[in-house]
Symmetry: C2
Subunit: 360 residues, 2 copies
């Protein structure tokens, strides 16, 4: 609590931070408490991280990847005085456990796989491997921060002075190491002096738009108008929206994008109104092993998120609920993919592999 109070004056506290050395801890902003309370989850063991990912205390594909990588360190460091072989087995077991926390987010598997590879490299001791894993986890974080900055820099030219820009869910600093993906584009355009207005879908059921995105934009001084998800069509028709920019949870080889439920409907609406629809994501979000969106598993979440989302029931008892966390937007509805390497225009098939081939 004291810690939370102490840092609440920071303008942009980071969603995921490692505090101290290899015996330190992982500190996460508890995003379920925003915007009314800025508090932290202090993670000193892997189960606290697993729960934080599962319960969306930390969310956003890149932030989950960083948290999982750091969580792996927490889960294996007690084996630092064993043999390297025992430690490597432990790494595999803990990575396996962490992978079950969110099945759809590809960054989670990607970050864990990277640490698993690092663990396999020759080492004099288990302790050396643990140090190396922490170093890798921090590098993933630093690279993510740089990638987000690059996405902002490359994407900002797509946003005109005076533009209304619609976004959905939270693809912001909270979802990443810093800056965000979709929001990096808005932050960069704003920093360049463009007078933009962000239109933010509240994003039911968990309200990441109103709770997180509106909060981030407000803190960084970007003008914000909050909307219910059902209002996006109207503001498009009223010509208030010049571009839609969203993030992504996973992008298939053909350019299909899995992202927060509601993204697909926005893409259809944007096309119907002749509004460009951009997806901003680092290359780690691309999963070229998946041919198309049809092959991306969609996580179905607890009905109570819909029926009891605000501490009181909002639907009759016993009602059936369909609560998919994601949908897939087909590539043909996407005007461009904004990555840290390039703004990629359609057709995406083949282009993606080339552009992202030098991926780490």
């Amino acid at each position: 609590m004291n810690e939370a109070t102490a840092v609440s004056v920071e303008k942009q506290p980071l969603s995921v931070e490692w505090i101290g050395g290899v015996d330190g801890y992982l500190r996460l902003i508890d995003q379920t408490l925003l915007p009314t309370r800025l508090e932290y989850v202090v993670c000193r063991d892997v189960e606290t991280v697993w729960e934080a990912i599962k319960q969306l205390r930390v969310r956003g594909a890149p932030a989950i990847g960083i948290a999982a990588a750091m969580g792996l360190v927490l889960g294996v460091r007690e084996f630092a005085d064993r043999s390297a072989s025992e430690l490597r087995d432990r790494v595999l077991a803990i990575a396996e456990r962490l992978r079950t926390s969110r099945p759809t987010a590809v960054n989670l598997s990607w970050a864990l796989a990277r640490l698993e590879r690092a663990a396999q490299e020759p080492a004099d001791s288990a302790a050396e491997i643990v140090e190396r894993l922490l170093d890798q986890a921090k590098r993933i974080r630093d690279e993510d921060r740089e990638m987000c900055a690059a996405i902002g820099r490359l994407g900002a030219p797509l946003i005109k002075d005076g533009a209304g820009v619609l976004t959905h869910c939270n693809a912001g600093a909270l979802a990443t190491a810093d800056f965000g993906t979709a929001l990096a584009v808005l932050f960069h355009a704003h920093a360049e002096g463009k007078r933009i207005t962000a239109y933010v879908d509240e994003t039911r059921p968990l309200l990441q738009g109103s709770r997180l995105t509106a909060w981030e934009l407000q803190r960084r001084g970007v003008p914000v108008v909050l909307l219910c998800d059902s209002m996006a069509g109207l503001v498009m028709r009223q010509r208030k929206i010049d571009a839609v920019v969203v993030g992504a949870d996973r992008i298939a080889a053909n350019g299909d994008v899995a992202n927060k439920i509601g993204t697909y409907a926005l893409a259809v609406l944007a096309q119907a109104h002749g509004i460009p629809f951009y997806v901003a994501a680092p290359s780690s979000t691309f999963d070229l092993s998946v041919p198309s969106g049809a092959d991306i598993p969609i996580e179905i979440r607890d009905p109570r998120e819909v029926t009891h989302g605000f501490g009181m029931p909002t639907a009759p008892e016993g009602i059936d609920v369909y609560n998919p966390a994601f949908d897939v937007t087909p590539a043909e509805l996407i005007s461009a993919l904004i990555t840290e390497r390039a703004v990629i225009r359609p057709p995406f098939e083949g282009t993606l592999a080339t552009t992202l081939s030098s991926r780490p």
Copy 2:
């Protein structure tokens, strides 16, 4: 409270009822408390009715019309021992007051105008006029019930056996004298033995879909799946939806439809997926004096409905909110208008005037 408890066993209590004679009272289901509590607002004066309409305790264009008509009786009956002329002045004053409670709902003006005309007809005494007004108000209710039944009968053939039918907001028994408009179609199809599944948008910000529509359908045994508004696009793409049926707050002469915010986006999505989009409404909802949807005033409601909808803040303090209560769906997106007289197919211009010309 006792009254509420006593009737809570009724299968389908009516949203608007007049209890007793001319010295009786108006009883409204307090729809803001559903689905967790079935309680009533007992109205013995016009201000209670005004507040109930304003605060959406009674909502749905036809139900508002009936409540306003009965509210007018409450507001004028204390003049029953004055002169007919004084009573007629009072009728105009109270009608004027009631009109300010909800500016968009045309049934409200329409019902009040009908009572104003009735008041102007020759009478031996003010008391006779008051009796006549109550009689008119009850006739509006009875006609509405018959209209809703007819809408259900005429609309049901549009719904195929096994269909998934998406609806938005509440155009049900609660919104009318009974049965509803959009829901009358579903109730009738279900009663005919068709195995339909209703997909119900929760309908932010006030959740009429999850609180009211899901409740009504569940009570009448129609299978229901509750969705967040942002999920409608996905279930259409998944081919779970065979038809969209919604109500209307006002329909212009060219067939443009003002209805709950989010309706327009559903119509765009339905067209993109080749799904028929039906609007069910009694002829009293048509306002042929309004050439097109562009001329329909859109009520902008309190931002706190979006930011504080559930007893706790869900957005940062001081955030700008755009909270339109309605949007306008252009006629070209509508497959048919289901009225109590006929299923009207496009083009609507001219057809509407003819079909509705014998309107009471």
